[in-house]
Symmetry: D3
Subunit: 135 residues, 6 copies
Amino acid sequence: MNEKEPTERFKRGLAKLKEIDGEAGEKVIESLKDIAPDLGRYVIEYPFGDVYSREGLDLKSREIATVSALTAMGNATPQLKVHIHGALNVGCSREEIVEIMIQMSVYAGFPSALNGIFAAKEVFQERDEKGLSDS
Amino acid sequence: MNEKEPTERFKRGLAKLKEIDGEAGEKVIESLKDIAPDLGRYVIEYPFGDVYSREGLDLKSREIATVSALTAMGNATPQLKVHIHGALNVGCSREEIVEIMIQMSVYAGFPSALNGIFAAKEVFQERDEKGLSDS
Amino acid sequence: MNEKEPTERFKRGLAKLKEIDGEAGEKVIESLKDIAPDLGRYVIEYPFGDVYSREGLDLKSREIATVSALTAMGNATPQLKVHIHGALNVGCSREEIVEIMIQMSVYAGFPSALNGIFAAKEVFQERDEKGLSDS
Amino acid sequence: MNEKEPTERFKRGLAKLKEIDGEAGEKVIESLKDIAPDLGRYVIEYPFGDVYSREGLDLKSREIATVSALTAMGNATPQLKVHIHGALNVGCSREEIVEIMIQMSVYAGFPSALNGIFAAKEVFQERDEKGLSDS
Amino acid sequence: MNEKEPTERFKRGLAKLKEIDGEAGEKVIESLKDIAPDLGRYVIEYPFGDVYSREGLDLKSREIATVSALTAMGNATPQLKVHIHGALNVGCSREEIVEIMIQMSVYAGFPSALNGIFAAKEVFQERDEKGLSDS
Amino acid sequence: MNEKEPTERFKRGLAKLKEIDGEAGEKVIESLKDIAPDLGRYVIEYPFGDVYSREGLDLKSREIATVSALTAMGNATPQLKVHIHGALNVGCSREEIVEIMIQMSVYAGFPSALNGIFAAKEVFQERDEKGLSDS
């Protein structure tokens, strides 16, 4: 599968990744370069180039969906933190992030909600320290 | 724990349950009456009386969060279908439901997304047959 | 691995399986005979011959643990129903089964609790129809 | 939802939280104060004020259920450790905790059982260092 | 995202889907046509056009990986059955499928293994009835 | 259950454990000695003495199954790392490990795949530092 991939999806995906996840997203791709560069390319192409670039559901709602799912599954804390950043970057307020976690206490149990809150707390502190403004 | 519960949470919750889940929600409570009536009361009080009644995140976003989480976990199809109805009742379009499922293919895998779509298909057909209008 | 297995674990396990799960347990083993008889043997030897035969935690508590775990995971309804029978066979009351499900609403969310209750409802009805007495 | 909540559930829940989880439980509530105080309040009210305060299943059995579920799900180690403490506080022996983990090897696989044991090991060491006596 | 997608990935994916999943795979795509045709296209493009078309791991090993994962997760029975067919189509024997399920008893617990076996049993019967030969 | 266990299964299992997991496997058993020695014995007897010792599926395929399942479940990182070592010890190449993770992006979502890759990266580095050759 070494043919040059169509650069359209990749370019669109890379722009979308930067828009949503900013520096955190690029670090993930960077960390894949020496071990699984094709997975890095796929992350850009399919989730960002295809899915996040779709119409039909606004970016803020897509991040609400993602933060909810990752909080409920409770087995992917690094990605949850990247997407709490992402949600704040595309229009969620900190209050809305907290409300998503409270909502998850109903559907995935209180431990998932608590661990979601603790992830959010770390993200909020990191943004304060770096002077990142929420959208 | 037989003291009369404060009726405020219960009343608020029952109204919220009807607003969101309509007939499907009331059927769930009804089905608990002979085996676990207190669980039925808790469903009304905590998820609906407390959580869905909160400010800080609009009802449509709460249902996007719920549908996403249940699709990602993939182990609660009856509740997923109730909340696809719920999402359509409080402002989601069918297109938005489909987009949530596509979004989940990224975070919980394609099988979860496919099973989410098949649940949505059943809900859409049921609404068509009953002449239920989406919001 | 065709050497004759030590019959001690197998015999002890089969007796334990009958004590706990009764007819339902034997049906599971029966259903494996034509496709995976060794898995049937392992089910008897390891879970029942080794684990359930241990001292240090009484049988009723072991079934509380099992029913809780299967309700929380929410992806093994047939086994959950076998073990609701099992719990009732070794000393749990129907009320205690219901309380376990309510307890799970806290740790695995309300959908898991509801689906646990619906499984219990089917088991209770089956026992009533068959005239099975709880322990 | 700013009306003053009925203090009955909250008071009962706080007493129950202290009885079961002791210091560890209070720390969790404390850690929520600056980010999600309402979630802290809900933790006290629903799980402890409503559920753990119910009759029909003794506290020790409730903690067996909780430790089993959290071990099986395997995605909430901090809460698992709090509830291993809780189980020991309300009447479980260390031997019973170990047996619960062995029981989970059957229903959730050996990795869940092993990670449960490693969590228990840390809790036992912490209790030894602090001179906490088991119940 | 209505630009014409590069047909290379799609064509390659469709051929791969037919090679692996045969009729069952095409039925899945067909069932998406009226509700989520783009998800059908993505299924062909990303899993089959990109991933299954990669070198570095043979098709039989890819299906062993897939059947194992779906058995362990235990929340996607229809897809598990499609991929048991797939595994048999690309070189797995029925005995190997059974061994995968036994292997899963160790890592995901006996209920997941049992439900995997029951899914395999249905697939084997369906193949016998249709006169499908295993590879 | 203090009768002397048949040493056949134990001996066979210990040899298999050393063959597959090497030093990492023995460390796990060692770490159980003071808290749950019987669980250590069971790990040797059932997974290794019974399951891995079976014919019908070669060791390399068994490790592909295990690494896939643990990556998909995403809640047992220490065991995933032990089995990435195991897979490399019994015939998988590093490239094949990476391909398994890419395969999992389809069935368990991109976060599971990414966390699988990061676990693999740590294992590969550890092997380089220790001068461990892959098989």
